[in-house]
Amino acid sequence: MTSRFHVPAVPARPGEQPDFSYVKVAAAGDAPRPPINVPVLGTAPLAEDLVRVLDDRHRAVGPWAPKLDAETLRRGLHTMMLTRAFDDRMQRAQRQGRITFYMRSLGEEAVSAAAAIALRDGDMLFPSYRNQGLFLSRGLSLVDLMSQLLSNSHDMCKGRQLPVMYHSAERRIFSISGNLATQFPQAVGWAMAAAIKGETDIAAAWLGEGSTAEADFHHALTFAKVYKAPAVLNVVNNQWAISTFQGYAGGEQRSFAARGPGMGIAGLRVDGNDFLAVYAVTAWAAERARAGHGATLIEHVTYRAGAHSTSDDPARYRPKDEFDAWPLGDPVDRLKSHLVTLGEWDDARHESLSKELDESVTGAWHEAVSYGTLNEGPRLDPSLMFEDVFKELPPHLLAQRDELLAELAERGESDHA
């Protein structure tokens, strides 16, 4: 007998031809759009399928095509391009040793940019580390984000977090955790609380397809199902989890969205590089949640075009040119082409926006750096290290703070000696 041990197949390794034959690309406009109160099982086919709106000729087609005005579409494009410009500059800042670590969202910018527009400002967001677009779309300043990356004197996290672990209570975005998937049941708990209090805001959360294997993914689905929590739960299937292909999270011949109906909540699978489609399914799920029909699990099919993080080198585990072969294209290009087709955008405007964004990123960077970097310029007071462990400093932390301050004073003296 041949062995029954199954090792998930990986389509291509370095040196091999990229192979995306496993991605079934439905034609744009094909997927039906059920009413928002459709019973859970009514979404089961959509959880297998792929909702796509933008067709090969860059037109928005089919029942999921949202009625978005050009202004809103341009806003989406703006967020995506800003995200990319920001990512690009920060990646370089890391290479230059100015920041310790960075994670880009290259290739999956539509996931955050479209969702941020589809949701209301009062809705609470629980992002993963690859949702910088949510922060940008909700208007956090570049300087604030960069200051976090620099752990400088303006850092919103007061120097306590690794780069990219932002938050914004004001803009209703939860604190990003370095521990995968923990935000998922938290989002559901937030949504439960909204429902308990009779408020109409909903929660939305994101995690990577690799992270679906964590316990908290399951906890979130269970609690969402049991209490019909008004939440939109997003799996960003960018095919890779560091070096691990999505098949190792259970994605072989099965969608991640299907786990929604499996558990008894709605499921939708969407072309994650199609801004309009992401907008449409998010709006649908948000409306469904807000109306009291419970949560939806959305799988965004996309591709992590960059390295996992600045500590990673994908050339070790996948073909260098995989992104070129990726069948769902580039989300920025696709939305741009759509706007051009509509006569609402052109190359010149695109170029000039791109330049403008680069400049504003560079300008912000100069300002952020003026607030200090890890090694130069103004620094946060190290005694901040002891704050916020508890609301008030307990005696043992007071004593430790004093001990550190004495040590630092001594260091300062010896530096001068």
Binding site: S175, G178, Q186, G189, W190, F223, F390, P395
Partner: protein, 339 residues
């Protein structure tokens, strides 16, 4: 003042807080309609509704995860973990999220969550209904860890925990839910009825977190202890006729080292007693801290009496449990070992 056992006192604390503060909710396995397997949440759902007192799926990690999200949305959840032995599936949410949230977000978010859980042995519960895991929480920066030993403290500390803006792990020594226990299983069960600490005000009051109680004053030696072992220690000291000072630390984090150190500096001798396994247990921190504070006053080595370093065995409940005799032996050694 009415007489309450610990179950009633805890129930009263939650009832009062559910009434006073609309943001308080209770959630956990079997806590709603049924009122909890130890009946600590009895009738709370009936009184405050199924939106405030929630039966949950059996997923400790999910309970705590959802509670963190509720905190972010302005609620103040009280989560029950049915037995402390079943808290480990929630350990990641507690260590990585509950404990770190305020810190990592520089105060933008926090988790004013109370996690109640019955702990300890003496009820023939075997290894999965008898554990005392306080040490693995006390080591984690960012959570408070407490354990009351009597009805009065239980109610006052639970209200304080619920009102606390920091997360609190609230251990309830289940062996003394219904009566104090002096560590002698063969004696008839005692009830709280005659105990002074069972006189519990009906209304609101708090017992501050972070303050130890000197349960018995004395000058010959100090017993530093908590939970069920407070009662065992008192009984042992009294059986020996020792002039022991007994300190119920009540709160592991923050630890009231001043009260403890003052006592040990005075008596020069110290026994630490807890039910949890000894090795790297909370007694180790107590011993290390006391030694640091009181070294020059110590007349004998600080001793520890604790659970053996084995899982809690069903058949050997009373060989395992650090009962009165074991504490008495330790006290005798402690007094004999004078310099």
């Amino acid at each position: 003042m009415p007489n309450m056992n610990m179950v009633q006192a805890l129930n009263s604390a939650m009832d009062i807080m559910l009434t006073r503060d609309p943001s308080v909710v209770v959630l956990g396995e079997d806590v709603g309609y049924f009122g909890g397997v130890f009946r600590v949440t009895e009738s709370l759902q009936k009184k405050h509704g199924a939106y405030r007192v929630l039966d949950t799926p059996i997923a400790e990690g999910g309970i705590v995860g959802a509670a963190v999200g509720m905190c972010a949305n302005g609620l103040r959840p009280i989560a029950e973990i049915q037995f402390a032995d079943y808290i480990y599936p929630a350990y990641d949410q507690i260590v990585s999220e509950v404990a770190r949230l305020r810190y990592r977000s520089a105060g933008a978010f926090s988790a004013p969550l109370t996690i109640r859980t019955p702990c300890g042995g003496g009820i023939r519960g075997g290894q999965t209904h008898s554990q005392s895991p306080e040490a693995v929480f006390a080591h984690v920066s960012g959570i408070k860890t407490v354990m009351p030993s009597n009805p009065y403290d239980a109610k006052g500390m639970l209200i304080a925990a619920i009102e606390d803006d920091d997360p609190v792990i609230f251990f309830e020594p289940k062996r003394v839910y219904n009566g104090p226990f002096d560590g002698e299983p063969d004696k008839p069960a005692q009830s709280w009825a005659e105990h002074p600490k069972a006189e519990v005000p009906e209304g609101y009051y708090t017992v501050p977190i972070g303050q130890a109680a000197v349960t018995r004053e004395g000058s010959a030696l100090t017993i530093v202890t908590y939970g069920t072992m407070v009662h065992v220690s008192l009984a042992a000291a009294e059986a020996l006729g020792l002039d022991a000072e007994v300190i119920d630390i009540r709160s592991m984090v923050p630890l009231d080292i001043d009260t403890i150190a003052a006592s040990v500096s005075k008596t020069g001798r110290c026994l630490i007693a807890h039910e949890a396994t000894r090795f790297a247990g909370f007694g180790a921190e107590l011993s290390a801290s006391i030694q640091e504070h009181c070294f020059w006053n110590l007349e004998a080595p600080i001793m520890r009496v604790a659970g053996w370093d084995t899982p809690y065995p069903h058949a050997f409940e009373w060989e395992y449990f650090p009962g009165k005799r074991r504490v008495m032996n330790a006290l005798r050694r402690l007094m004999g070992e004078a310099a």
